[in-house]
């Protein structure tokens, strides 16, 4: 491909112009910046809330229903998940830099690493569907999702859960790791479960893996 062609500019320090690439005025590209962040480098919650409110209203344009709105929010989160997977594994210490090989390892990675990175704490619970008909369904439970902190859903849209955005991030992580899945966010705060009235905003992220994931899981389990 391109490095077999004798065209200039590909191998050298990279001059602007011949690649159509624009350089920042200080000459520092993304390759010059470190990937590890300092512990204290956190974003303000207010800035996030403002941005997320804009994202929701942007997704709300030209949609006909709640389903479609949630799908758009999901799509906004998906590429973030794909990239977070690589970034967070890169930041792991070399000894524990392991690719998740089974569903449990993957969900633990999401519950602990992804959640801590995004929301500053772990997800509250991890559950497997107790229904024997749906062994492909897993649940990540967050008692009060940060994304919903400043969002009050109007009555006529009570089905909507804006944590569909976070669900999209989870879906991106799963897809990237080779575990294709559908992830949806559901509010269960008002149903009378244990502590249901304590956490009115409790959200369940339902992770439904594709059949081939379970098939492979069974094969790997049988081998080891």
């Amino acid at each position: 491909m391109s490095n077999h062609l004798p065209a200039g500019g590909n191998g050298g320090g990279g001059r602007a112009g011949d690649s159509g690439l624009r350089y920042p005025s200080n000459g520092k590209t993304i390759y010059h910046r470190p990937l590890n962040r300092t512990k204290t480098a956190e974003l303000s919650k207010a800035a996030f809330a403002y941005l997320f409110a804009e994202m929701v209203s942007y997704a709300q344009r030209r949609v006909t229903g709640i389903q479609e709105l949630e799908k758009r929010l999901n799509l906004q989160g998906h590429p973030i998940g794909l990239k977070l997977l690589d970034l967070l594994l890169f930041r792991e210490p070399p000894r524990s830099q392991l690719r998740p090989l089974n569903i449990i390892a993957l969900l633990h990675f999401i519950k602990i690493n992804v959640w801590t990175h995004l929301f500053g704490r772990q997800a509250d619970r991890l559950e497997k569907s107790s229904n024997p008909d749906t062994p492909d369904e897993f649940m990540i439970i967050d008692n009060e999702p940060l994304v919903n902190a400043y969002i009050s859903v109007p009555k006529e849209m009570s089905q909507l859960n804006c944590a569909a955005f976070a669900a999209g991030i989870i879906e991106g992580v799963c897809d990237g790791a080779g575990f294709p899945a559908r992830v949806t966010a559901h509010t269960v705060g008002d149903t009378a479960g244990e502590g249901g009235e304590m956490w009115p905003g409790r959200t369940v992220f339902l992770v439904k893996f594709q059949p081939e994931v379970l098939e492979r899981e069974a094969l790997i389990g049988a081998k080891s």
């Binding site: 491909m1 391109s2 490095n3 077999h4 062609l5 004798p6 200039g8 500019g9 590909n10 191998g11 050298g12 320090g13 990279g14 001059r15 690649s19 690439l21 590209t29 993304i30 390759y31 910046r33 990937l35 590429p79 794909l82 990239k83 997977l85 690589d86 970034l87 594994l89 890169f90 830099q97 392991l98 690719r99 998740p100 090989l101 390892a105 990237g176 790791a177 080779g178 492979r216 790997i220 081998k223 080891s224």
Partner: protein
């Protein structure tokens, strides 16, 4: 020692490729692949993708080490979290395939135009004199005459001097470690590349800065 490095996406599509030679032991960082071998390399890399798929679910490490071998070509693999494959084909200089491995003037002239590490074009004469200057002891052994063919001295020099180096022992732990370091550095730059909001999975990486970074990692470790 010649290397061919490729990044393969999740759909077995190539995202990036780069070939280079060793920079250790006075190597000039040029790949010594013939035109035919260049094209063959892509097939070898592609065929070893099957082995990657076999190994990837039994080993959670990112660096899968040496996974495949095709005659004198050895393939090492590094698998990122999102199943992007880094494959490095390395070919030790061998006497059996001397026609392709030896840096005779015509091949070095052609490879300096096709390999883009060095922007300046080396005429064949300067390449042969530089290979002579790094092995002065050998040239005295062979009679000290500069009139002897540079191909012979260059070939003998690489095989005798690199017997303990990473180039001659593709399966040694030192080689494994050097390739691990190379992959780690490329991985860091790869993660930086995908952090760009304009980059989507399985897009070709065209950044000249990325290419320069890979070249620098190759010079540093291999």
């Amino acid at each position: 020692m010649s290397y061919y490095f490729a990044i393969i996406g999740t759909q077995d599509n190539p995202l990036f490729e780069y070939d280079f030679g060793t920079s250790k032991q006075g190597g000039d960082g040029m790949a010594r692949f013939t035109e035919q071998a260049r094209q063959l390399n892509q097939f070898i890399i592609h065929s070893s993708l099957d082995i990657v798929e076999e190994v990837q679910w039994t080993n959670g490490q990112m660096y899968l080490k040496l996974i495949d071998r095709f005659f004198t070509s050895y393939i090492s693999c590094f698998l990122t979290a999102s199943n992007i494959k880094f494959l490095l084909l390395h070919q030790p200089p061998s006497t059996s395939s001397s026609s392709s491995a030896l840096p005779h003037p015509s091949s070095s002239g052609s490879s300096s135009t096709s390999t883009l590490v060095q922007s300046s074009h080396h005429p064949p004469t300067s390449a042969s004199t530089s290979s002579l200057s790094v092995i002065p002891s050998l040239s005295t052994l062979t009679g000290g005459s500069n009139s002897s063919t540079p191909t012979l001295i260059g070939g003998g020099g690489t095989s005798s001097r690199t017997s303990t180096s990473i180039a001659a022992n593709p399966t040694s732990p030192q080689t494994e470690e050097a390739i691990r370091n190379f992959f780690a550095e490329v991985y860091e730059n790869y993660v930086k590349a995908i952090m760009s909001p304009f980059y989507k999975t399985n897009m070709e990486i065209r950044s000249p800065v990325f290419r320069a970074r890979v070249a620098a990692a190759g010079r540093k470790y291999l």
